[in-house]
């Protein structure tokens, strides 16, 4: 039987099962830490940096989604410095590509947009990149719009870990990173794609969407992934 541990989160003492992450322990106790790349039921890459928290005695910030809670740990999930960092991370996501909410099919149903509202992002203080990026409409049922992609890799993970098709990957490095189907071919030509649409459902923005959905019409059902994972007993 797993061992029970005591963890302090924002000065409240909680009992948790060993092996649970800080994010999970917080969620188990009704505390919500901002996340974007994390999705329950998939592995956690800790890449979006929104869930960074302060751990007493540790000289750097740690991602709550990948850091296991340890007995005696004291975690701060909200502070002025964390709020500043999260806002900066979010602003960097907004400037990297072309996020134009008003004409986006996911307007009103977008996790990036909701996060900006939640964190009180009123301005972007850095210049926008305005990169010229393609829209892949080659798939008969779905569309990949690189302009709206935040490289969270949920699609990569769901295709690998749940569907088992491994269509998606992230190519190149840093600012040049791009989501690619198979070895960088048009999505419609990817022979390993089963057209299951799980990547579309887990995508937090309007980057992966159903074809034919007009502006503001694209709603996602990312719970199907969590439910599938639970049913398969892969993760809880």
């Amino acid at each position: 039987m797993s061992q029970q541990i005591s963890v302090r989160i924002d000065n409240e003492l909680y009992t948790a099962t060993e092996g649970r992450t800080i994010l999970q322990v917080a969620a188990d106790n009704g505390r919500s830490i901002p996340t974007l790349c994390y999705l329950e039921g998939l592995s956690a890459p800790g890449s979006c940096r929104l869930c960074l928290v302060e751990v007493a005695g540790v000289g750097r910030l740690l991602p709550a989604c990948t850091t296991p809670a340890r007995s005696g740990m004291s975690v701060t999930t909200n502070s002025d410095a964390l709020a500043h960092n999260r806002l900066m991370a979010l602003e960097l996501l907004f400037i990297e590509r072309n996020h134009v909410c008003s004409v986006c099919v996911s307007n009103g149903h977008c996790e990036l947009q909701s996060m900006a509202q939640r964190l009180g992002m009123t301005h972007v203080h850095l210049p926008y990149n305005f990169p010229r990026l393609p829209v892949d409409v080659s798939h008969p049922r779905f569309v990949l719009d690189h302009n709206r992609c935040i490289l969270c890799s949920r699609c990569v993970r769901v295709c690998d870990e749940i569907e088992g098709a491994q269509v998606w990957d992230i190519s190149a490095r840093g600012i040049n990173s791009m989501l690619v189907a198979e070895l960088d071919r048009p999505w419609g030509e990817a022979q390993s794609c089963t057209s299951c649409g799980k990547c579309v459902q887990v995508c937090p923005t309007g980057a992966l969407v159903e074809k034919g959905q007009a502006v503001e019409e694209m709603t996602k059902r990312n719970r199907i992934v969590t439910d599938l994972a639970v049913k398969r007993g892969a993760r809880t």
Partner: protein, 472 residues
């Protein structure tokens, strides 16, 4: 030789300037109408999935987004080869009427009534909507109320007053709720009463402007607009008709996809706005006017009772073909009345609450053209897509663009008559701007393409001498 530059022209939508050239005696020798802004929609839409176009292109304008939305949706439906469910067509027509009402109200009450009620020569500091509120508070309230009625009607149907996403390729994405219908119907009598008393007022003052009527674009041109199956006024759908200056039908019941056979587009060196012309007459002679004046000239009648009575009186006053662009104002008021009646008729039809409001399809044609009557005239969206549905080419021919040549000639006529370079007065230049206002131009709508306009950069020294110039 002297030059007078009016920059910017006030109380219009968008940015423009007018240049008036004078000879040494102070007489007007030439005029130019420059649209000084560029939008670029046709270029940056390339690569987008076609079904996003209605919501992207409606962002062209905050005043007539519904026209772009509907025309774009129709172009998309030509690509999809679908028939929009009849209920959705009617709902779109109601929304379109709401927009024509609010847009026409904006033009008449907010932008042009200061000239008409306070006078072309009145104090420019008070010659604006605030001055109208002071001098004619009831009329100002009426204008605001009428505009609100139009906007509220759009909101009742589409959920938002400006830039709604309710209209989608194939129809609309939600049926009408009875409560919203009843709310629009309840507000309708007041809107009708306002329009009727404004028409009475206008008819009581119009004769004061005989000199302006004589010189405000009082020139023979062709006219174009959509007609329904009976040759009556049609704003949403229908076929294009061209008539000549005498009222003879030149082209009738033109199919949308044939418009390029008749309409050419010329680029002019002094403006970002292209100049469409009637191909068979060539450029620059193929001048045609669109919008309320043109529509009431080409149709047999409006097709609704009260508007038809006004329509008959209108033509008794101005003849079979109302030629002066001053009459745009009167025609605009009659169209408001027609739209209110049309809305009433459509909303009272029980079928308007039908649940089947959308058709679905993918790419079934690689090219699509949509055409409708925007408040300012005939609007055309023309798209080409690849087999996956990405836009490869787009061309938008905007109502105000169709009037470009006519506007230029009208400005010339007004300037030659009213402007005297030796004793320049504000009222003279205001009349030059007022003729432009009569067209209710939406210049922010009208300029789209990029890369094909001649742009000239001049390097000028302190004394004004041109040292160097570069053209693209």
């Amino acid at each position: 030789m002297k030059t007078i530059v009016i920059d910017p022209v006030t109380r219009i939508e968008g940015h423009s300037k007018i240049t008036i050239h004078l000879d040494d005696a102070g007489r007007v020798t030439d005029t130019q109408f420059h649209v000084t802004q560029l939008r670029g929609f046709e270029k940056f839409c390339e690569g987008r999935p076609f079904y996003e176009m209605p919501s992207i292109t409606e962002r062209i304008c905050g005043i007539c987004p519904i026209s772009h939305l509907l025309t774009s949706a129709k172009a998309c439906e030509a690509i999809m080869c679908v028939r929009v469910p009849p209920t959705a067509v009617k709902l779109r027509q109601i929304m379109h009427c709401g927009q024509v009402i609010q847009s026409h109200a904006l033009s008449f009450f907010h932008l042009s009534s200061p000239d008409l009620l306070l006078g072309f020569d009145s104090d420019p500091a008070r010659r604006n909507i605030m001055g109208v509120i002071e001098a004619h508070p009831q009329l100002a309230k009426d204008g605001i109320a009428l505009r609100r009625f139009g906007q509220n009607s759009i909101e009742g149907l589409a959920g938002e007053r400006i830039h709604p996403s309710w209209t989608v390729p194939g129809g609309v994405n939600a049926p009408l709720v009875a409560a919203h219908r009843d709310r629009i119907l309840a507000a309708l009598p007041e809107a009708k009463a306002i329009t009727q008393r404004t028409l009475s007022l206008y008819k009581s003052i119009v004769d004061r402007f005989s000199e302006e009527i004589e010189y405000f674009g009082n020139q023979p041109t062709m006219y174009a607009g959509l007609i329904d199956g009976s040759g009556n006024l049609e704003l949403y759908d229908g076929h294009l008709r061209f008539i000549d200056a005498a009222g003879n039908v030149v082209v009738d019941r033109m199919e949308t996809e044939d418009f390029e056979q008749y309409v050419g587009e010329a680029t002019v060196p002094h403006s970002f706005l292209k100049a469409p012309y009637f191909k068979q007459a060539g450029y620059p002679d193929g001048v045609f006017r669109v919008g309320p004046l043109a529509r009431l000239n080409i149709v047999a009648r409006c097709g609704t009772e009260l508007a038809d009575a006004e329509f008959t009186e209108y033509h008794q006053r101005y003849g079979k073909v109302a030629q002066s662009s001053f009459h745009y104002h009167h025609a605009r008021l009659i169209e408001i009345l027609h739209c209110i009646e049309r809305m009433e008729r459509l909303l009272q039809d029980p079928a308007i609450l039908g649940r089947h409001v959308r058709a679905h399809a993918g790419v079934n044609a690689l090219e699509g053209i949509g055409m409708s009557e925007a408040p300012r005239g005939t609007l055309i969206h023309h798209y080409k897509v690849n087999e996956d549905g990405a836009i490869t080419w787009a061309n938008l021919i905007i109502a105000t663009g169709n009037n470009n040549l006519a506007i230029g000639r009208s400005i010339n006529q007004v300037s030659r008559h009213f402007v005297d370079g030796n004793r320049l007065q504000d009222g003279m230049l205001n009349r030059v701007q007022a003729v432009l206002r009569a067209y209710d131009p939406c210049l922010s709508c009208s300029t789209h393409a990029t890369g094909q306009y001649p742009v000239e950069i001049r390097l000028v020294d302190a004394d004004g001498a041109v040292l160097d110039s570069v053209r693209n």
